[in-house]
């Protein structure tokens, strides 16, 4: 669709800009301010330049948390995207009661407050009262996410996959539903295999929604806090201390506002950089008829 160039359209965007800017810009400036100052108390603050940034970049525990975070987000994308697509492919194609039921069930985990997600999984995996924990231990395999780092990782990953795969599936399902029936008819006439239909029709048509899925899952998994915090508290040891849990330890636990602010800015820039790359890719690989 050809759009007319008209800067008066800004008047329509202005309300959005004002509402978001009210909550976005002043806190951002404040955090930048913290990051270059040493604050002892009200009225007692000194400019320290980039000192906090240097300190944060040398922090080895932060490096560990960062790699842990990359591993976590990478695993999340590797598991949830293919699984979500597979589920979307299995969903009923025709709308009806089956599709409605499937959609409502699929959305259930997405509707639960994030700390409640953690609570559910504590209840579910406790060796004494949890269904999963009890079942595994009864089967003779010792499993306790509060003691063994590997068990903690498995539990957190299970929780994450359980919680967010439905979002990927919803997005992929939406992409599939948008494919006109004519494409499938043409493929049928050509005698295309199921794999060929997926590879050359469904996958390209899902490209847009999948890139958005990747973007949302990357941002949210990289910033994950409440769920693992409730479930494992970052332990055992530091094994599930993801980046934002480490950040809270610095900011609240040690009350080092300067380094925490500097760290927040670096953190934000990492997310921004990756999201920007995804966004650029998403603009390029999109169909030619949109902008």
């Amino acid at each position: 669709m050809n759009k007319t160039y008209d800067n008066r359209a800004w008047f329509l965007v202005l309300p959005v800009f004002l509402v978001v800017a009210f909550s976005a810009i002043i806190p951002l400036i404040t955090v930048v301010n913290y990051s270059v100052q040493d604050i002892f108390g009200p009225g007692e603050r000194y400019f320290v330049g980039l000192e906090w940034f240097r300190e944060v970049l040398r922090d080895t525990r932060l490096h560990e948390a960062l790699w842990r975070q990359f591993l976590f987000s990478g695993l999340v994308l590797l598991i949830e995207i293919p699984l979500g697509v597979a589920i979307a492919l299995m969903m009923p194609r025709k709308s009806g009661w089956a599709a409605s039921l499937a959609l409502v069930l699929l959305a259930l985990p997405l509707l639960i407050p994030w700390n409640v997600i953690g609570t559910i999984w504590i209840i579910f995996t406790r060796p004494d009262i949890g269904l999963l924990g009890y079942a595994i231990n009864t089967a003779g395999i010792p499993f306790d996410h509060t003691a063994a780092p590997l068990d903690a990782w498995i539990t957190v990953m299970l929780m994450e996959v359980w919680h967010w795969t439905p979002l990927v599936a919803l997005l992929a399902y939406a992409g599939l539903r948008a494919i006109p029936e004519a494409y499938y008819q043409a493929a049928r006439i050509d005698g295309a295999s199921d794999w060929a239909v997926f590879r050359y029709i469904q996958l390209p048509k899902m490209r847009g929604v999948l890139t958005i899925a990747v973007l949302l899952r990357f941002m949210d998994s990289f910033l994950i806090y409440a769920e693992p915090f409730v479930l494992t508290g970052g332990g055992p040891g530091n094994s599930t201390t993801f980046l934002s849990i480490h950040l809270v330890k610095i900011a609240v636990g040690q009350f080092d506002l300067g380094p925490a602010a500097a760290f927040s800015i670096i953190y934000f820039l990492i997310v921004l950089l990756f999201s920007w790359v995804f966004y650029q890719v998403l603009q390029r690989v999109g169909t030619g008829d949109r902008r």
């Binding site: 759009k3 008209d6 359209a9 800004w10 329509l12 965007v13 959005v16 509402v19 978001v20 909550s23 976005a24 951002l28 404040t30 913290y34 597979a86 299995m90 969903m91 194609r93 709308s95 959609l103 409502v104 699929l106 959305a107 985990p109 997405l110 509707l111 639960i112 407050p113 994030w114 700390n115 609570t119 559910i120 209840i123 009262i129 269904l131 359980w162 919803l170 997005l171 939406a174 948008a178 049928r188 006439i189 050509d190 005698g191 295309a192 199921d194 794999w195 847009g208 929604v209 958005i212 941002m219 409440a226 934002s244 900011a251 925490a260 927040s264 934000f268 999201s275 920007w276 949109r290």
Partner: protein, 295 residues
Amino acid sequence: MKLERSAAPAGTVPAEAPARTQPRRARRFALRKGTVGLIVYFVLLLLPIYWMLNMSLRTNADILARFTLYPTDPTLANYARIFSDPAWYSGYINSFIYVSLNTVISLLVALPAAYAFSRYRFLGDKHMFFWLLTNRMAPPAVFLLPFFQLYSTFGLIDTHIAVALAHTLFNVPLAVWILEGFMSAVPREIDETAYIDGYSFPRFFVTIFLPLIRAGVGVTAFFCFMFSWVELLLARTLTTTEAKPIAAVMTRTVSASGLDWGLLAAAGILTIVPGALVIYFVRNYMAKGFALGRV
């Protein structure tokens, strides 16, 4: 099955009829295999929720005393306590108020903006859109403090409107994105005809355009509702007592007294109900909402 299909002759006209029926039979079989997979997935998906339901129908003593797959002696005592204790049920009311406020605000500001994005090019339009998205990317922990200061400056702490405003940060970009997709699907000719007929922009927008994108508004409302409902950190930071959300009430209970698993599970089950109701109303439009999305 795949072999059968690729082996089916397709080129000649007389061969077309069998070539059509055969893959159709094959697809029905594939569908059934998929349905089995889907049922297995949904059973796994529902297990943790079922377990919470199971816990919510038992007393805490019973939960800790023995392991049962289903409540042998079901009790509604946990639910009764939540519905009778103001500290508990006010949490739900507070959450519901600010989530509704947020949904209304997000829709009101996002509607004109989405129209602008769908109909016009203007200076910095793409940058504007990406900037909106960046508000989803800030790690909340440190930003909470300046948020608190900002909202106290305006005397908004512990009000529902504060949380509603703060949640627009991540809901408005999403709302603009979904609505823009629905609006772009409406042909421009409708706008132009209306202007020629002498409609002013506001009158056209409300009486003609909005009814056309009803489904989009419903889907957007659902997503705003959902993301505002599940958020905890901002909501907890900006409230103390009067507007405290249910999620925060639950965390307080965990840290204060010993864990009452039954009560916690009942509260958890109740947090799912409002969203499940909302999704039931927009279920038929939901898939469409994403498919028409901006990308």
